[in-house]
Symmetry: C2
Subunit: 895 residues, 2 copies
């Protein structure tokens, strides 16, 4: 990403891009340079819409200023002066002149960071121009209101003055004169207040409020650029995976005024209802106001369309402007092919557009709108698929707090990391671990967290802290872990001594249930009910459409008949990973498995393997029944044997009694099996090289299940792929494949029917990638295990990375968790090598991915690019994978 952006920048020497009635230097395609807002301003200008003239300072300039520490004046002093002159000429006004030109200075990043960055309005006012403005507009109050607005904004954004100091004074002033609203404050009042503001600024910042509009302009530009790195913006980028390198553009425009009286207004409109998708204008406005009034909450904005009290909506109050706005909305929707979120200002009945952008919608609303667009002929099927936001689908599929129930909100904190979590209160790491060991969900509750708490955070379902803000340790770490977190819940109190958590309404003890809603910051009483996933017809319509344009086939990772059923419901076309060990962890099975592991002789091992055979065969039968005729990849036993054995003295004693074994001997055996680095130990196919009888039993169970199904229905089509894990050397594969194939052959000869079984290998070690040509010559298929591959390529243990990953992402050493999103530079490079080598010797070898990244929307395009046969992921991620697969396919065909 870095390199690419950098390349795009390199050939530019131009940093200022105009958009006005005579010259438009950019369009929507120049987002990377002009930012989203700047590009849209240019685009709307191109469309001939009413946009206040102005120009954009490019994101490249921001990069040079912030990262390369270049001096702005060296780069743009002349061009900026010329650009302002140009605006003077276009408007017939003068910057710092008799008919004063006022400007707005607004940030506009490449990626949308709504509300995260800074804006300055009414720039150009000073002791002199405020008077000329009053004269020209014949409105003293208007001029002074603008001036005080400018002082308030500028002192806060540029001079870093705490804005509440001025607000407090204003409130006091209003009280003194019994004013209820700002509108009651007269020009004369403002004339008194302004000097006070300036004095307060001087005392507070040590600086005189600048009179020179040029000084105002330069400082504002720098301040807006710097706001790219303000803590709010950094947190937002972190949460949304925005590259910190992108930077922001700055848009400088001629001011238009919504505060020139009843015939003026300012507002925001969505072209359709973003929460329901309904086709009607949705938004708010205020008459006689400037932009920030709508947001500030000082005055209650009116609705654009208000069915309930029509007399107060824009349609009724300003019918002409409403009609104009409606037509514009229609035009912009059709042009952008998406619901628009539009900022507008009406100045004396003239409608100006200040911004348009694709609206953020509720997931279901988005789907409805897209399909409506399709029916209205605005979008094609392909375009609908491309425009669906994959992360929204995630929200659709995961349970969330059911807001229909009346939940007791105990307190509210900052929503530091989204998602809902239920668990028992635990005040320290030890308690979390105690709960965790008993498989009891825990919520870590602390005043604040420190690096010492990381292990506790890993093992808790969610984190609640009483102190700290959005960038506190708890917030940063939890976001990186993808764990729900609420911080700064200052109304609560921890009684360390009594181990109690006090809320205003309730005292709770360690072990009591609470629920966190990390998306809202609500702390809820007890174990709150979650809303089950509810899939509606739009969802299925989307899925059907995805499959129509599908690229990679999507399979699921599922190990039990129950999960396999769910996978099928979500539209998985086969299983890419059916882990056979999970079948043995059940209460009534694990002791047989243990007996097998502990058996002293091959005979004894055979006896217990026979018991396991019966169970495994039954599971295979059910799984094959459900998922056939789609392909099913069965992975033979993978984890180290000691994972099945107890580790604690108490449990060992119990097992020794149960299996009638000497306790000391058992302890010694278990110690003997334990490993320093189990991940790199005696597991996977290494087990089967040592004890071939295990894989043989599993092969027999597969064959038997297939035969049973065929006996019931001769026509049943099945394709089973037996997968050998953790292969690093071709001879491992040869040895085990021949063992397995002999068994299959024996059975086929006996029943006289050819069983459709492939034998292949998982590619999950660097060496497997490097010898992929040899492996391909000896295997029927490959499935990339990207989890393990990531572990060995980075040398990261997935179990331990929590100890330092938050620090890594915090210091920007890594941008994201490589286990969540494929590392294209390293892991991807090895995959490319493997695919190339494998296809060189076996052109049509079946290739898939079964690591969890197979369901990650950021990783799938890479897998698509490798032209694999399928991707496989957990059932819940199958729908996203289907959608992204279609998106990749459409994108490729477009090329």
């Amino acid at each position: 990403m870095d390199t690419k952006t950098h390349l795009k920048f390199q050939n530019q020497k131009k940093y200022i891009y105009h958009f006005d009635t005579h010259q438009i230097d950019g369009s929507i395609k120049d987002r990377h340079l002009l930012g989203n807002k700047g590009a849209n301003l240019a685009e709307m200008s191109l469309l001939g819409l009413q946009v206040p003239p102005g120009f954009t300072l490019s994101a490249e300039l921001c990069h040079l200023f912030l990262n390369e520490k270049k001096n702005l004046k060296d780069l743009i002093e002349k061009p900026l002066e010329e650009s302002v002159k140009r605006l003077e000429k276009l408007t017939g006004k003068q910057f710092n002149g008799v008919c004063p030109l006022l400007l707005s200075v607004r940030s506009g990043a490449v990626s949308s960071l709504p509300g995260m960055m800074d804006t300055i309005l009414n720039l150009g006012l000073n002791e002199k121009t405020v008077h000329t403005l009053a004269k020209i507009y014949k409105n003293e109050r208007f001029a002074w209101d603008n001036y005080r607005r400018f002082i308030q904004m500028y002192s806060s954004v540029v001079m870093k003055m705490n804005s509440s100091l001025l607000d407090v004074y204003l409130e006091d002033y209003k009280k003194k004169y019994n004013y209820l609203a700002d509108s009651e404050i007269s020009a004369e009042d403002w004339k008194k207040i302004v000097p006070y503001f300036k004095e307060a600024i001087l005392q507070n910042t040590g600086k005189v409020f600048p009179e020179d509009p040029w000084e105002q302009l330069w400082s504002s530009i720098e301040a807006v650029f710097n706001s790219w790195n303000n803590p709010r913006a950094v947190v937002y980028r972190e949460m949304n995976g925005v590259n910190s390198f992108e930077g922001t553009a700055v848009n400088i425009q001629v001011m238009v005024f919504g505060n020139r009286g009843k015939d003026s207004a300012t507002g925001v409109v969505f072209t359709r209802d973003p929460s329901t998708g309904e086709k009607k204008l949705f938004g708010e406005f205020l008459q006689n106001a400037q932009g920030e009034d709508v947001v500030s909450g000082m005055r209650t904005p009116l609705l654009i369309v208000n069915e309930e009290s029509k007399e107060k909506d824009l349609k009724t109050l300003m019918p002409e402007s409403f009609e104009q706005l409606k037509q514009l909305c229609d035009k912009l929707e059709k042009h952008y092919k998406y619901v628009q979120d539009i900022e507008f200002t009406i100045e004396q009945n003239k409608l100006w557009l200040l911004q348009t952008r694709n609206a953020k919608c509720n997931p279901k609303a988005q789907l409805k709108i897209l399909f409506d667009f399709m029916e209205e002929g605005i979008l094609t099927e392909e375009e609908v698929l491309e425009k669906v936001d994959t992360s929204f689908l995630n929200t659709l599929l995961h349970p969330s707090i059911d807001k229909k129930n009346k939940n007791t909100v105990l307190a509210k904190g900052l929503p530091a990391s989204p998602g809902a979590a239920v668990g028992r209160i635990a005040f320290d790491g030890e308690s979390v671990l105690k709960f965790h060991k008993k498989s009891i969900p825990a919520i870590l509750v602390r005043c604040e967290t420190s690096p010492e708490d990381i292990k506790a955070m890993i093992h808790s379902k969610g984190v609640l802290t009483l102190k700290g803000g959005m960038t506190s340790h708890a917030a940063v770490v939890a976001r990186n872990m993808g764990k729900p977190c609420i911080v700064g819940c200052e109304s609560a109190f921890i009684d360390e001594h009594k181990k109690e958590l006090h809320f205003a309404s309730k005292r709770m003890k360690q072990g009591d249930f609470i629920t966190l809603d990390g998306s809202t910051g609500d702390v809820l009483l007890g174990s709150v009910k979650m809303k089950a996933t509810c899939l509606d017809s739009l969802f299925f319509k989307l899925m059907d459409l995805s499959d129509k344009y599908k690229g990679l086939t999507v399979r699921a990772n599922a190990d039990t008949p129950c999960d396999v059923k769910k996978a099928k419901e979500f539209g998985a076309k086969g299983l890419g990973l059916c882990r056979t060990e999970h079948m043995f962890f059940e209460e009534n099975r694990i002791n047989i498995m243990r007996k097998m592991i502990l058996s002293e002789s091959t005979e004894e091992r055979h006896k217990t393997l026979n018991e396991l055979f019966v169970m495994q065969e039954k599971d295979f039968y059910e799984i094959f029944k459900i998922m056939s005729p789609h392909s099913i990849t069965v992975r033979l036993l993978d984890p180290p044997l000691h994972e099945f054995l107890p580790q604690k003295e108490k449990d060992i004693l119990a097992l020794s009694q149960k299996l009638d074994l000497d306790k000391d001997k058992l302890t010694f055996k278990i110690q003997n099996l334990s490993e320093v680095n189990p991940m790199l130990g005696h597991r996977g196919c290494r087990l089967a090289i040592t004890f071939p009888e295990i894989y043989l039993m599993q092969t027999k169970a597969i064959i038997s299940a297939m035969r049973r199904i065929l006996e019931e229905d001769k026509e049943q089509k099945m394709q089973i792929e037996i997968m050998i894990p953790l292969v690093c050397e071709v001879k491992e594969l040869k040895f085990l494949k021949s063992l397995i194939e002999k068994e299959i052959k024996k059975s086929e000869d006996k029943i006289g029917v050819s069983l459709n079984i492939l034998v292949g290998t998982m590619i999950e070690l660097p060496r497997a990638c490097l010898i992929a040509d040899h492996l391909a010559q000896n295997g029927d298929f490959f499935s990339f295990g990207t989890n393990d591959l990531t572990q060995t390529v980075f040398g990261f243990s997935r179990d331990d990375i929590g100890q330092f990953l938050p620090i890594y992402t915090g210091k920007n050493i890594l941008q994201r968790d490589p286990f969540s999103h494929l590392d294209i530079q390293g892991v991807g490079e090895l995959m490319k090598i493997a695919v190339k080598k494998a296809r060189a010797v076996k052109k049509n070898i079946k290739l898939g991915v079964c690591g969890e990244q197979g369901g990650d929307s950021q990783s799938i395009p890479f897998f698509h690019g490798l032209n694999l046969d399928y991707i496989s992921c957990s059932p819940y991620r199958v729908p996203i994978a289907r959608l992204v697969s279609a998106q990749c396919n459409i994108k490729e065909k477009r090329k």
Copy 2:
């Protein structure tokens, strides 16, 4: 290797190669086809020496027969018949004819497997030809003696009869007639014995001894081919790293007879004394005998030259033949440019050469001989270097049992795995582990071992079993671990109850000291003294010569002033790996390290780091003093912090008292630091990203040590390379390098002198190889850590691989331990990628290897091929590395 050999084979359709006075199809260059013996027979024939005419069946034929299960007659029936006819024509004799042609059939592998494989002499004799032979040679006894020899050999080698059955009968016969020696047995006796032999063979094998010479020949050829896979040969190959794919050739020659009377003899001669290197013929012979008599021990052979009793040496007994032999030895030595080990037969004063090969010499003798050759003008300096056996150098450098002391041999077993080990007797795994935990050396003593004992074997110094042979579990596993082992020590007895080990002369208890000499099979009483390495002038001469032709520079891995001194003695030109953590494991230092790890705040950590600084600075000062001006690579802290902390409750309690910390809190902290897979955990540069103050302290200590040295001597040249371990991402390197360089810059500015410090990274993770271009842009040098790279490329934990590696090599899944010898296919491939990428962006980047394979003679040629700047290994391996480095260089220049 496989592929290469295979390629060489592919274009051959010829399987029989002649060597006789009219046609010679091969030479010494055809070793891969003709085997060592066959190639030398051809070569000697080319030189015009007296070699009995014959032909060689190629090793390719062996491969087709053994591995591809081809039928021999399909491949060579006609050519074999023609070849025998050719010998009939050349000799005027007839196979199965009136003047019978007798043949010898001898194995001859590509790599020398001395005495490991089978031979059949006098082939062609039967009831008919024994009579004609007697008639033609006018010697009944000669004919019948040959016949019984043939029956004994053939029945044993081809018919798999237990040869002792015939030996016992022969002994009984001799007793009955009061014969003392075989020579007293007359022709008439043999005529009686032969029918008995045949009857015994029939009863024992169920098969009639074949009369047909063609049947004899075909069966013998198959038997010799099959002997390639006999257990002795398999073990030998395994111990010596011979590829099991090579196969053996078969040499078929006209018999010459050393048993035709006093004017005939057979013997073996070395052209120089292989144990001292002295320039004199050295060897043994027997008059009137065939080859196996010399070896069998039934008759005591005479010396070729016997200064003490001249009347019994060859020189005196057969002066003419001796002179001939002497000239031949001279000729062969000059031709082969190496000491030769020659088999000869004298038939009626005519000298025939049956084999010549490079002699196996004692390491010191080899050196002496090579340097003598140089002085005699036979070898150039380069040739001397190329001919030194690197594994011999190993023997020279490692301590061995000092045989000057009188050691008590308690018993003798089979020398299953070479090397000497001293330790306390431990009868089971638990005891071994108990000793091991107290750092007491243990010798595992068992009746036999099973896979359950592997962990115990890993932690013992050596293994002694009372049962089992050279291929028993203990033997195979110990060889693969490189651990001294004696098996089949059947004269000893274990009293399990009393935990005692009984020898004939002594009863020993668990915990008593014994010593194993795995090279001889001797079990010795007590803790036997080892011979210190003693380096003589020849060694230094060799090292000087190596450096004259050196390729890669050789550095050492050493961490303490003491080791650095040793490294310098062994000729290391710098340090490639100075591990800084080892400096903290000492008794008086570890608690300070622990305090640092456990510190609750950055301030506290700084305080303890200051204490550590003083110690580290002192070490650096001494190390730099010793090794400068050669480059020194200092690796900053690498292991996970919990390695420094106690794990046992008792030790934790002690530490909590010592450091005045709450025990529960300490326990929790230690648990918190523990990891599932520490190898892939929070270690290396990851620690420094979390706690930058650690690397800062280390950097300061390096700078301070350099400054102290410079204060003492301004002219002292130093180059310190600061190495950052475990880098997987370029930003890790950037972050830490800039941290370190700031510190250096600060110091340089202060003292006004530029310090010669480079900052680079260890390449020890697959991802580091894949992003080597980015790393090269940001680092001054790379050092490949092949140990860790091997771990992640294979997914093998070095600590755990002992659990399955013996099984892997046993089943031929892996041919060798990838930690001992570089895996060229996987690890090597990644190294190639890394070197290519790095040089593409920084042509002259300094590249080295610091994994222990840097000192492995099998791996160095690969590193040479990569054109690295240096290799680095433990001090003891430096001399071998210097030699191999020169050898690689000479080889390359020759090309």
